[in-house]
């Protein structure tokens, strides 16, 4: 009976959402007449005054950099919350996350692949302003590399203190760059470096620095998440 009611409710809701979005239309400009959308300004400013190739990056880091700061904070809070929710008074002695190592093929394979994965992550977040990707993606890739090592070896450990130091330093870099912009240029996260030439690695002023900091931070945070969760024995 409850199922039936829920399905009915969902059908009504789905109908209204669908007609709204079908009416809005797909794949062409659906703005109200006479409105100048913000995206044109973004696209122009990105090329002309920031010299960043990837518009998504310039939006995420510069125009709407405040969102990104909040987003990084959300991840940071998620790590803290995980630690708080799964907190136990003391860890039992000899508690291990993985019971035995994988076979030789997997262990040697992951050993060889691990530096390559980290390099891929570094590539993704260093080139965040030129190609798709950036701090989050790079950080996630590095964390996945750590996940591989943690899975393959029974006694691979990650220093918890090291992680939190890296995380804090990266966070301070982000917020510090923002505050420096406030002091130097008059508003939070304002760009205070020369912007370089378009499609060069050293371009975009402060954007690559922030993205590298974000990359380190996300990598440390997600590794922390994986590590915490892996050591949770029901």
């Amino acid at each position: 009976m409850k199922k039936f009611v829920v399905i009915l409710l969902l059908a009504v809701m789905g109908y209204y959402i669908s007609i709204t979005f079908f009416d809005i239309g797909f794949g062409d400009s659906h703005l109200v007449e006479g409105v100048v959308p913000v995206k044109d300004a973004y696209l122009n400013e990105t090329v002309n005054s920031l010299n960043v190739a990837n518009t998504v990056t310039s939006i995420v880091v510069n125009f709407r950099g405040f969102d990104t700061l909040g987003e990084v904070t959300v991840l940071f809070l998620a790590v803290t919350a995980l630690g708080g929710i799964l907190y136990k008074k003391r860890h039992q002695a000899g508690e291990r996350s993985v019971l035995f190592s994988a076979s030789k093929v997997v262990t040697s394979g992951s050993k060889l692949l691990f530096p390559a994965i980290v390099l891929l992550g570094a590539y993704v977040f260093i080139h965040g302003h030129l190609s798709p990707g950036g701090g989050f993606q790079g950080g996630v890739i590095i964390a996945t590399g750590f996940l591989l090592m943690l899975l393959a070896y029974e006694n691979f450990t990650v220093g918890h203190n090291t992680l939190s130091v890296i995380e804090s330093l990266a966070g301070i870099t982000f917020a510090g760059v923002g505050i420096w912009g406030l002091i130097y240029g008059g508003s939070f996260l304002e760009n205070f470096l020369p912007v370089g030439t378009l499609n060069d690695l050293f371009s975009g002023g402060v954007i690559p620095i922030i993205y590298i900091a974000v990359g380190f931070k996300v990598a440390a945070e997600l590794t922390g998440v994986i590590y915490t969760v892996l050591h949770e024995k029901g």
């Binding site: 409105v35 709407r64 969102d67 909040g70 919350a81 929710i85 510090g176 406030l182 508003s187 760009n191």
Partner: protein, 493 residues
């Protein structure tokens, strides 16, 4: 001017990233740093309020791009007033919970104070921001801290309450995103002032869809009636000071956001009626539920929901007196409900089930705490010499001005219900015999200072309401001035 509004967000974030580092060197710093930060923010807020009272609102721009492009923060009389209130309450809650129960150990204390600080930061950000997606981000910051704080005690039910909250919260964020996208697809902008200035161009059908989704989403955070399932459980299972923070800070921020959206973004006249209807239903349902509760904190929680309904009704009148009354109610509710939660959690400190009957005769053992609780009860039901009286009076006069007699009758009936269940507790505190099996706990000095400060404010506002009404009139005028808001934001540079 001593600082800029962006420091309200930047400084706590910087401190949050610093806390783990300092915690390795000096363990006490995890407790001290949030206090220093909150005290600094309070000073900043008061300074900025002084500036705003003289010179008009401050509009802060992030990353040096003028508003339609960049994100902006607005520190006007209205938002500044709420920010000051929130930071002040945050400081009180911090002082109260300095060594409260599980906070004695290092690891939990680190997480607790960090999360508490971020809860306050998220709420302050929700109030300050002038960008609708930034609002979403701050809501998420607030909610994740709230989930973690709700589940902070390792008891059986806290995780359940937190899960319930989380489920509704993620639905809320999903709805919020849909609403944001409907608006964006039509107007091509995310800035609130820009949206407000272009809203008349949008088709009414889309407007209705967007406002339904927005209202559902924010209603979950603001405990509006059909969506308040999480609230009593979360209040009851969270640590005592966190309950105070929810009632005083988080809900205020959510109410602010929904009011800002209805008053500034949309020009639908039906929205005000919607506010009144929903507010009235919330009020009746919550108050009748409160009278049936057996646990102290759940009773307080339902009472809090009821008060929020009253605030909604007052906002829904749409006149300047109504807004003034609503703001006065919000101010009083923040102070008084925090006082009730803080003192109430010492009344039932050691009991397992936190039942109301366990406070029997506790007045002799904890005289100051009990006195403060009773003071809060008297104030919130609106007995004449206390703070709550003036706010209820202003609601009644505003309703009378708008010829809404139904509201007057409703408020009076609800007040009677409130009197019944609060007086029941007061009666038990002083005139019942103490149950010997219940052990009591004396409040620590810092908790006592925190509670007495709140009690003093209740008394001061009660005997001398003009202390705040000046600010409130200014703030309500500020909210009503939609054109001024849009003008302030959009004519920057």
């Amino acid at each position: 001017m001593v600082g800029t509004p962006v420091l309200f967000v930047a400084i706590p974030l910087l401190a949050a990233f610093l806390i783990p580092l300092f915690g390795m060197i000096w363990k006490e710093s995890v407790r001290v740093i949030p206090g220093i930060v909150l005290a600094y923010l309070l000073v900043l807020a008061i300074n900025l309020m002084n500036y705003v009272m003289v010179n008009g609102p401050i509009v802060e721009v992030i990353a040096g791009w003028a508003p339609p492009l960049g994100i902006n923060l607005v520190f006007s009389a209205f938002s500044g007033f709420l920010v000051t209130l929130m930071v002040f309450l945050g400081l009180i809650v911090w002082m109260y919970s300095y060594r409260f129960k599980r906070n004695v150990d290092f690891e939990p204390a680190k997480k607790y104070f960090l999360l508490l600080m971020m809860l306050i930061t998220g709420s302050v950000g929700m109030v300050l921001t002038g960008d609708i997606f930034n609002l979403f981000v701050f809501i998420e910051i607030t909610s994740i801290s709230a989930y973690a704080l709700t589940a902070f005690y390792t008891g059986r039910d806290s995780a359940e309450a937190s899960f319930k909250y989380l489920m509704l919260g993620s639905l809320a964020s999903a709805f919020l995103l849909i609403a944001i996208m409907i608006i964006y697809s039509q107007l091509g902008t995310l800035n609130m002032a820009d949206i407000g200035s272009k809203m008349h161009l949008m088709k009414p059908a889309y407007k209705i869809m967007a406002i339904i989704f927005l209202f559902t989403a924010l209603g979950i955070e603001a405990e509006i009636f059909p969506l308040n399932g999480w609230a009593p459980d979360a209040y009851a299972e969270a640590p005592g000071p966190v309950g105070a923070a929810f009632a005083g800070i988080v809900v205020k921020a959510a109410i602010y956001a929904s009011i800002r959206i209805i008053y500034t973004l949309f020009d639908l006249s039906g929205a005000y009626d919607l506010l009144i209807v929903i507010g009235m239903i919330t009020l009746i349902v919550a108050e009748t539920a409160a009278i049936r509760q057996e646990k102290l904190k759940r009773m307080l929680a339902y009472s809090s929901i009821g008060q929020m309904g009253l605030v909604m009704v007052a906002f829904g009148m749409g006149t300047e007196e109504g807004v003034f009354a609503a703001l006065f109610l919000m101010f009083n509710h923040a102070i008084i409900k925090s006082l009730l939660f803080l003192s109430g959690s010492y009344l039932v400190y050691n009991s397992k089930d936190k039942l109301i009957k366990e406070v029997n005769g506790i007045g002799k053992f904890l005289p100051i705490t009990s006195f403060l609780f009773v003071l809060g009860s008297f104030a919130i039901v609106g007995l004449p010499p206390f703070a709550g009286f003036w706010s209820k009076l202003s609601v009644l006069t505003a309703a009378a001005d708008s010829n809404m007699l139904l509201i007057i009758a409703l408020v009076l009936i609800v007040s009677i219900i409130e009197v019944v269940y609060y007086m029941r507790v007061v009666n038990r505190i002083y005139f019942f015999k103490k149950d010997e099996s219940v052990s009591t706990q004396r409040p620590t000095l810092n908790a006592l200072i925190a509670m007495i400060t709140l009690g003093a404010i209740v008394l001061i506002v009660g005997f001398y309401p003009d202390a705040v009404t000046g600010f409130l009139h200014r703030a309500s005028a500020d909210l009503m001035d939609k054109a001024g808001y849009i003008n302030d934001v959009l004519t920057l540079n």
